[in-house]
C-alpha cells in the first residue's frame, strides 16, 4: 500500500486484495495522514485491486465520516467492473464520486 499527499489531497493506492486483514492497517495509516496534513480529499486508487469485500466499504465510509465534517470528498479512480459492482451494491456510491475514464 502506498500513500501520496499532495496539498490537501490524499491518494491511497490500494493493494491487490482489500479485506479485513489489510483494512485495519490502511485505516490507521490513512487517519494519521489525514490528521497531520489537513486532508480534505481522499482518492482511493483501485488500479491494482481486483478483490474487495465489505471491510473495504468500511474503510471508505469511515474516511468519509471524518472528512465530510470539513466539507471534503472521497473519490474512487481506476475501478474495474467488479469493484464498481461492490461499490454500487453497498450504496457507498451515494457518498463517493467515481471517476470514470474513457475506455481506450
Amino acid at each position: 500500500m502506498e500513500y501520496q499527499v499532495q496539498e490537501n489531497c490524499l491518494t491511497i493506492y490500494l493493494p491487490a486484495e482489500v479485506d479485513h486483514h489489510n483494512a485495519e492497517e490502511m485505516k490507521r495509516k490513512a487517519d494519521k495522514l489525514i490528521d497531520r496534513n489537513h486532508i480534505k480529499y481522499v482518492i482511493f486508487d483501485f488500479e491494482n485491486t481486483d478483490f474487495m469485500d465489505s471491510s473495504g466499504i468500511g474503510v471508505i465510509m469511515g474516511r468519509y465520516k471524518t472528512i465530510s465534517l470539513i466539507g471534503g470528498e472521497v473519490w474512487a479512480v481506476h475501478t474495474n467492473a467488479r469493484i464498481r459492482k461492490i461499490l454500487t451494491l453497498s450504496g457507498v456510491t451515494k457518498i463517493m464520486q467515481i471517476y470514470e475514464e474513457e475506455e481506450e
Binding site: H21, F51, D53, S54, S55, M61, L89, S90
Partner: protein, 151 residues
C-alpha cells in the same frame, strides 16, 4: 448423476488466513468450470463469512474456523462454522447496515453481500455454542447450451 465431492478446511481465526480461505475455496470450485464472475462472487461471500467469525464469533480471540465445501451436480455449497459466541438475533444481524461495531468502521454489509452474491444463505446459531453459515450457488447457469452440444 455424478457423486458429490467434498472438502474441509480447519484453520486459525487470524485475519491473515482470510486470503487463504477464499483462495482455497475458489480453487476447489474450479472443477465446476465457473466464470470469473462466479469465482469472484464466492470469494467475496467466503471472505465476509470468515471475517464475521474472526471479528464477531471469536471477538479476535484465536480459535478454529471450519469450512466445508460440497459440489453436487452444478450446485456449490460452502459452510463456514465457528464455536464462538453465537448470534442473539439472526434476523437483525442479517439486516443491511446493522453492525455491533460501528466504532470500528464496520460497514454492516457482510450478510447483505453474502445474500447478494450467493443464491441462498442460511444461518444457524446458538448462543455460546457457535454459528454455521451455509451458502449455495448454482454454477454455470445458462452455459449448458454450448457446453452440452456435441460436435
Amino acid at each position: 448423476m455424478t457423486p458429490a465431492n467434498e472438502m474441509e478446511l480447519k484453520f486459525d481465526s487470524r485475519s491473515a488466513n482470510e486470503g487463504f480461505a477464499r483462495v482455497a475455496v475458489a480453487a476447489f470450485m474450479t472443477q465446476l468450470n465457473p466464470t470469473v464472475e462466479e469465482v469472484a462472487d464466492v470469494k467475496t461471500a467466503v471472505s465476509e463469512a470468515v471475517t464475521n467469525v474472526i471479528i464477531h464469533g471469536y471477538e479476535k480471540e484465536v480459535r478454529k474456523v471450519y469450512i466445508k465445501c460440497m459440489i453436487e451436480e452444478n450446485i456449490f455449497t460452502v459452510e463456514v462454522c465457528d464455536q464462538g459466541k453465537g448470534i442473539e438475533n439472526i434476523e437483525e444481524a442479517m439486516c443491511p447496515m446493522y453492525t455491533t461495531r460501528p466504532d470500528q468502521d464496520r460497514s454492516g454489509m457482510g450478510f447483505a453481500f453474502m445474500e447478494a452474491f450467493m443464491d441462498s444463505v442460511e444461518v444457524e446459531s446458538e448462543l455460546g455454542k457457535g454459528t454455521r453459515v451455509r451458502m449455495k450457488k448454482a454454477v454455470g447457469k445458462g452455459r449448458d447450451i454450448w457446453t452440452t452440444q456435441s460436435l
